[in-house]
């Protein structure tokens, strides 16, 4: 019986998720926005791994799920960054709030 209960991990993940979300929604720098999204995905991973150990039906599946998540996150980060670079090349900016030529 571990002395670290499941709920504590979950709360931690929740906090990280919220931090990531806040960053993604408010940070002006596009790179930070992308990184914040990575943080959100990390929070998910904590959940998955914690559930894999303390969940209702503990098993390796959670860990495998988080492996996939990590991979996908990496791919997403790479593509996001590539897009950002393409954009930067044209517009010379990475400020998210300046990317508004399409609106209304």
């Amino acid at each position: 019986m571990s002395s670290v209960p499941l709920s504590v991990y979950l709360v931690l993940a929740l906090i990280l998720f919220c931090i990531g979300l806040f960053g993604a929604l408010t940070k002006r720098n596009a790179v930070i926005v992308l990184i914040s999204i990575e943080l959100m995905l990390n929070a998910v991973n904590i959940n998955l791994v914690a559930f894999a150990k303390y969940g209702i039906n503990p098993g390796i599946t959670g860990q495998i799920f988080s492996l996939f998540t990590i991979t996908v996150a990496a791919a997403e980060a790479a593509v996001g960054l590539a897009i950002l670079i393409a954009l930067y090349r044209n517009r010379k900016t990475v400020n998210v709030d300046e990317m508004d030529i399409m609106k209304h």
């Binding site: 993604a24 929604l25 998210v96 990317m99 508004d100 399409m102 209304h104």
Partner: protein
Amino acid sequence: MNPLIWIIPVLPLLSFVLLLLFGRRLKEASAHVGALLTLGSLVLSIVVLLNQWGGEPVKETLSWLTFGETTLSAGYLVNPLNALMLVIVSLVSFLVQVYSGGYMHDDDRFPIFFAYLGLFTFAMLGLVLSPNLLQLYVFWELVGVGSFLLIGYYFYKREARSAAKKAFIMTRIGDVGLFIGMILLFWQVGSFEFDEIFAAVEAGEISEGWITLTAILIFVGAIGKSGQFPLHTWLPDAMEGPTPVSALIHAATMVAAGVYLVAAMFPLFQASEAALTTVAVVGGFTAIFAATIGLAQADIKRVLAYSTVSQLGYMMLALGSSGYVAGVFHLTTHAFFKALLFLAAGSVIHAVHTQNIHEMGGLWKKMKWTAPLFLIGAMAISGVPGLSGFFSKDEILAATYADGRFGLFWIAVIAAFLTAFYMFRLFFLVFTGESRGIQEKVKESPVSMTFPMIVLGILALIGGLINTPFATYLSDFLAQNEALEIHHHETRWWIPVVATGVSLLGILMAWLVYVKKKVTRFSESAPDLHYILLNKYFIDETYDYSFVKGTRALSYFWYYIDRFVVEGLVGLVTGIVGWFSKIGSRFQNGQVQLYSSVAFAGMAILLLVVAWIGGYLT
């Protein structure tokens, strides 16, 4: 015989259709076509009348319209009253058409005029032949249209336009009364047929209240058509039409249709004392009311028009006093002498090209035929003994007296006096004295015009003989109708004396005022009263300010409601959608983080609400 009856109205219809289609080619011949076809009707009508003498009523119907389990029929009915009316209508119509051949000679829409006359005659004959209320209503309205078309014959005149419109609308107000009355009666009886209605009344199937209500409503129709107060104002205005039209429609036939209607529905009226009283009071009031207005008018046709209104009131008074025969009798004689008067007036107008009696005068010598004929007419209407009007008026007075409404009796007597006065005022101003206007070449009218006048003159002279106290042919004839209970009232000896007295007094007064000039004219002695009379008691103005302006105001009110409230609400809805659209697209400001924020906030709210509703937030 029977198969021929339906031809009577069809002949004028044929004339209408033919002239409408081929009038342009027929030109002058139109008058002949019209007159000949009407003559055919006349001849047939006389045959029918003779057949009715001692014969049985004839009724033929065809199914016309079915709904639910009910079948409405159309057809014709001949009874003594109808037969008499047929003859009057076709006779006057024929004479007027002959007359018009001369009178309208110069008009370039000559054929149309005769076409309209044909239409009118058709409608009038159809009305008379109707065996049921519905069919009567149909022709009733058609008659109105004929009248409307003919009043508006000089369509380019503004006055003609408004007079036509007024005539149609005023009579339509009355018609609605008839319409409602007829429908209510239908739901009481289950039929529009006269005989079935009378049978139901007889059998007491309808309650007293319903009888009174429907009878009065039907009488409202008669008020409109016969120009009774308060719907009388259109009739004098209708004089904007050509004079032969006035003679035919607005003197002899159509306006008498109201009287005819009451007469035809008489068993219904008889069953309700209140209805009869209404008829009598309205008639009596109209008789004296219109007579007073007639005193002050300057237009020859308007004087005659008010005279007509007044005389129609007389007839209503007679009917309302249960004087069925008196009413019908007066209707008949009135048709003769009033048509005569109008035709004579037309002849005068034809000659002097004015209608203002103050611009006439001294025509006695210039119009050898017209003047004596007019005199005959005037004497007849004034009730000079021996002429037709004397007998019929006498009958009315007797009936009124017998009915016991003494107030109305005295009103009738006064009206008789006034009638004599204004008729002879007219006569003296027009035919005696010196010429007051420019009348260089006044010529007597052609034969085509004088001939009908002579015929009518003879009838006005002797027409009264059909029902004298000594020989009650008409009474007996009408009494053949079994549905009626005709009262024979004893003629009191003093009534004819009083009648003769007042009429002679009236003539004398007129002679004193307008020939001898012994008595100051009314206009000078009582200018205020004269002013009121000249302006017809300001009834037109009152109507104008109340109903016409009121309707207009109401219309504008609704129009603005429509424009601003109804459309405004629509505008509001579209405005809200548009505003929402604008807000929505403003929100879409290109900031990607805003997009996500909105989405996330949406999710948070969603979760909160789920939690709240689900009761998990404890």
